[in-house]
């Protein structure tokens, strides 16, 4: 089966997030880039599915030339083909992004390749949290779509997919081809192998440059929210602090 996984290059943030002085982006001078944990799991899920059933995994991103790094990361894990829809520094909103992806999917079909059976996304991007590119791609291609998936059970022409809703596990049946957005926890992603990394380094990344357009939502400024909490009161060191800790838990009313 043919699977496409769509990923997004985002800043790797650790204990602190810093915005550039012009308020237009996250300061990445001291950090690297990565993809969302949801997307790491989407790549892993796709690789596992083709390991079991045959076929191949393609990975696609809409991003700057440097996003080739994230594509190579997916190639090292077992994707066979990488597509970079190159941007020029504009902020791509979810509508334009979805249109560019849908166009790339159509182009593949018209070039005589086997069409995708499954198109996977992360449930939401780590940075913008828009929760919609996968759904919009499904509409543009006329495909069924389910979001937030934590389990995929593949059938012949359909898949049984499951997710959680308010403590209940709910299941859907989707006919293929379909779009699914997945969440972390669906699997435990592997680490890249050495041969995988070598292969990824040599791989040719297919590139095109779709055209940008603006959308009705326009970002003006990013800012770090004011912290409400003050710095913690230190109750003490090691086991010597246990008596104070018990007193605090008692005041909070959580002791049996």
């Amino acid at each position: 089966m043919e699977i496409l996984v769509c990923v997004k290059r985002v800043p790797m943030v650790g204990g602190k997030i810093v915005v550039t002085p012009d308020g237009q982006e996250v300061d990445t001078r001291l950090s690297g880039f990565t993809i969302s944990p949801h997307e790491e799991c989407a790549v892993e899920e796709a690789v596992q599915l083709v390991e079991r059933r045959g076929g191949s995994v393609s990975v696609l991103t809409v991003g700057p030339p440097a996003a080739a790094e994230q594509l190579r990361g997916a190639l090292a894990l077992g994707a066979g083909r990488a597509i970079l829809l190159q941007t020029d520094g504009s902020h791509w909103g979810p509508i334009a992004t979805a249109e560019a992806i849908a166009e790339a999917v159509r182009a593949r079909a018209s070039n005589g390749h086997n069409p995708y059976d499954l198109i996977l996304f992360g449930n939401e991007a780590a940075d913008t949290g828009d929760y919609q590119v996968g759904v919009r791609v499904a509409h543009l291609l006329g495909l069924p779509c389910v979001t937030g998936i934590k389990n995929i059970e593949m059938g012949e022409d359909s898949a049984r997919v499951r997710r959680e809703y308010r403590g209940i596990q709910e299941g859907f049946e989707v006919t293929l081809p379909a779009v699914l957005t997945v969440k972390e926890g669906i699997n435990l992603p592997r680490y890249p192998s050495f041969p995988g990394r070598v292969r990824a380094k040599k791989a040719v990344i297919e590139q095109s440059a779709p055209s940008w357009h603006g959308e009705g939502l326009r970002m003006r400024m990013l800012r770090v929210p004011q912290q409400e909490r003050r710095r913690a009161e230190i109750l003490g060191q090691g086991t010597g602090a246990v008596a104070s800790l018990v007193r605090v838990l008692d005041e909070l009313g959580v002791l049996p």
Binding site: E184, Q227, G238, T239, V242
Partner: protein
Amino acid sequence: VTVLCLVEHESGEVVDASAAALTFARAMAQPLPPAVSWPPGGAAPAGAVTAILFGAADQLPVRTLAVYGVSDVYAVESDRLVSYAPLAWARVLAELIKASSADAVVAAGTDRGNEVLAHLGAITGEPMVAGCVSAVRATAEFAGEPGAPSSTSGTPGAPSGPDGAPSGLPGAAAGHQAWQIVRQRWAGSLLEDAELDASPALLTVAYDAVAAAVAPVAGAARVRIHTPAVSGDDLAVRVIESAKPSAGVSLATARVVVGGGRGVGGPEGFAALEELAGLLGGAVGVSRVVTSQGWRPHTQQVGQTGTRIAPELYLACGISGAIQHMAGCLGAKHIVVINTDADAPIIGHADYAVIGDLREVIPALVAAIRARAGSS
């Protein structure tokens, strides 16, 4: 303005996230401050919110809706919509937008709220703005008024799009509302100030950042039953099985969460945390490094890509406090930390901290709590 709000309900009650969404929707529907009068003949009274609920009208929490300022209710009844079907739900909302000339549709930023509004965004071709913290109407925004926001210069101080491209959308007709939005990025670790030009505005609410507030309206809400024509295509994706997982204290609703991170040291270290959580009637939560190492299952992960918790007490042990983790505990009322590193970022989010090795502190704490319980 007319604001529709999709309300999720369970066991005859409005779910908390939807109560926050109703509060948010009410603020959107407020009349503007003086000097701008609402044109007469508007469909709904100023400040009014119309709630949309799927289910039989006689089983809906209508009284609760009135407490949250809802004047009108659409009860969407259909024997074909007994189980959740995201596209069919969105199609119903699209019909109700037309029927009520709605200016905005609001839903809680839950899995379902985000999913249904994403479909609605695709159906209408409008932007969908997820994770909103506030939405205020821009001032110069009436239909036909000079300087309406469809032109680039409409809103004072509005920047043009990136790279100097004109920020007006092609086809942004007069009559579109402009909204000043504040929304979450990085699951709330960052805020985005944005401008939205869309009709209708489609927003989901960051419910852990918006407090639900009551605003009772006089009398009961007016309930209208809407019986949609549901096409088979729109039902292709619907819930066909639903199972309750094994019992136990749920992480999302636990009153106490005992958190463990890298400092726990390995899978065997969690027995002590489980014991403490059991003693406090709580649940164990873990950081992402713990699940990606395979020490604990992902169902226990607290964070941006795990479970969001809102306990009375979060006791975070051996957790440094990465952005990804802290985004999952925005709702915790109190945070107490046990950590060897007095400079760990999590100390900056906590109320109290013990500087020490959790492998010594937790057994001593368990013993102290047991001794105390035994003597009382």
